[in-house]
């Protein structure tokens, strides 16, 4: 196993067992029986390890879902749904980690530690949106379309929040939440209503 993988594995084990990240690089290295210089040659900080942990997780989900046999036949809405369901399936393996690090994923006050995760997701969303414009599921809105990845990321974080609070059998309520909220999102980015609303808001904004 490569050193970076060992570091990540040990980091997540520590999180699972203690419910919080290691206190210092020094102690972390001692536990793992590596030198600090070995650590710093691989990662700049413990935060960087955490960031890489979540980035790798979401990249694995994106990789596996887009390799599925039906992926090419899916439109943007179905791709988004397929990704989210695959993410939920994968998150069962890391549910205890997610619960321990819940505050990192708060939809409205995102932390630095999930930057890599966020970037990977935004790249994925940009592809989905491009597909959606091809299939006319997403209206061309020029500059506004640039905020879609941000909106979708917030939605993903809301799904995670919902999932962690869900106590229904088999997390069926999360499934229903994903299904209904994605349908709403795609209804909104397709129809004219949002454009009209935006137009009105722009009109009402105070002038200098």
């Amino acid at each position: 196993m490569e050193l970076s993988e060992r570091i990540i594995e040990h980091y997540s084990n520590h999180l699972r067992e203690h419910g919080h990240p290691p206190r210092s690089v020094f102690r972390f290295c001692k536990e793992l029986e590596i030198t600090e210089s070995e650590f710093f040659r691989t990662f700049g900080s413990l935060e960087a390890v955490e960031s890489e942990l979540w980035r790798a997780m979401i990249e694995r989900v994106i990789g596996s879902v887009s390799a599925g046999p039906e992926w090419e036949s899916f439109g943007a809405r179905q791709r988004t749904l397929a990704f989210l369901f695959a993410f939920l399936e994968a998150s069962l393996d890391v549910r205890s980690l997610l619960l321990a690090r819940r505050e990192l994923f708060r939809p409205l006050c995102r932390t630095h530690a999930i930057t890599g995760f966020a970037h990977a997701h935004k790249r994925f969303t940009a592809d989905v949106i491009a597909k959606g414009q091809e299939t006319n599921e997403v209206a061309e809105r020029g500059a506004i379309a640039a905020v879609y990845p941000e909106v979708f990321l917030t939605h993903l974080l809301a799904v995670i929040e919902f999932h962690l609070a869900d106590t229904s059998a088999g997390f069926e309520r999360t499934d229903a939440f994903v299904e209904k909220s994605v349908n709403l999102a795609f209804d909104l980015i397709r129809v004219q209503a949002v454009d009209s609303a935006f137009d009105l808001v722009r009109f009402l904004l105070p002038r200098r």
Binding site: E70, L81, D175
Partner: protein, 440 residues
Amino acid sequence: MDAQDTPTGQQSIRSSPLSRSAALATTGAVVGINYLKHYGRRAMGGTGSTSILHEENAKAVYRTFSELKGGPLKLAQMLSIDKNLLPEAYAREFSQAQYSAPPLSYPLVARTFRREFGKDPLDLFDTFSQEAKQGASIGQVHQATRGDQQFAVKVQYPGVADSLKNDLRLVKPLALRILGLKESDVAPYFTEVESRLIEETDYKRELASSVQLSNASRHLKNVRFPNYHPEFSSAKILTMEWIDGVPLDRFADGDADQASRDQIGQALWDFYHHQIHTLKVFHADPHPGNFLVSDGNLCVLDFGCTKALEEKFYHLQFQFLDPVLIDDDARLITALESLNVIRADDDADFRDQIVALCRDSLRLVARPFRSETFDFGDAEFMQAIYDLGMESQKNEIIRNPRGSRGSPHTIYVNRTYFGLYSLLARLRANVRTHLIPPGV
């Protein structure tokens, strides 16, 4: 497997518990306004009759129930059938009583497969339609093939059992207040309705009763059943043979000739009679979407809601089909007492009114059994049945009986016969109905 013309273009459904509560709150407001009107009329010197008030409230509640679909509508139906509250609109709504939600996306269907079987749909089947072919009461139907076999695969909406329970909880206090009932009076009915609705969400149970009932009825003329596939079924997924056919309502409203209408009507009648009077377990949801017409055969598709009749209750319930009993005061009273419709502590006047009411409705409802053949195309008969419901809705004795009356099992028998009569009326079928139920 309730056929719907378009699985995509459906009406609005209140989907989240929050918006459902909002819909119920609206009813509360409307009911409140009706009370205001009532007191307003009184203040203006009018009589402000309570029966008008009840009627307006019932309408408001009914509107909300039909918007909600799912649990509350079924509940309203069952309560209203049992209380003989049958507004004419009810008959129309009856055929739309299904949980209509936007169709499930294919990724969620695939997720359900992975959860139930650990495999994707395409690992089990050669082809699998991404779009739903039909809506079903609490799920949707996909078409699949494997080799030269065609399958109908019913996939349940996730969380539907949860949502039914929630709906019932939300609607219970309101229903009690508006229908003018006391909690203790209807507790057994609620328990019965709830347990039956929850049972419908278990497809394993549905599979078992489908196989059992269809094997026990296979010999009936012109009645057909799909083959079931337990190897592709689970608690949330039910797989059966795909049958091409016309949904019963479309057949009935189409231009079929009288002979084929009679043939299908007869099959329907025989099917129900065989179940109720021989098997004593029956398909308690005679909804047109549960039947297909294919090559002059009636295909029975959905055994989600079945009800078993205990021997003792069966005899109590069907003793009323005995033509002699209705005209014999003493026997009729004994029979009504045995079903707890009238009680030993009722005073004579009250008892006479109940007996008279029951006699009138029994005469009407049992009419098809009295002749060799019965023409359900007779519009007057169905109108009389609806009118009976309307009348008893206004009747204070039936609306406010003292204490709990009747048996909770009656709900399903009544619901089934009402549904059967409506279907036969829609088919305008002439049916050989005469029978003496065994053991009466």
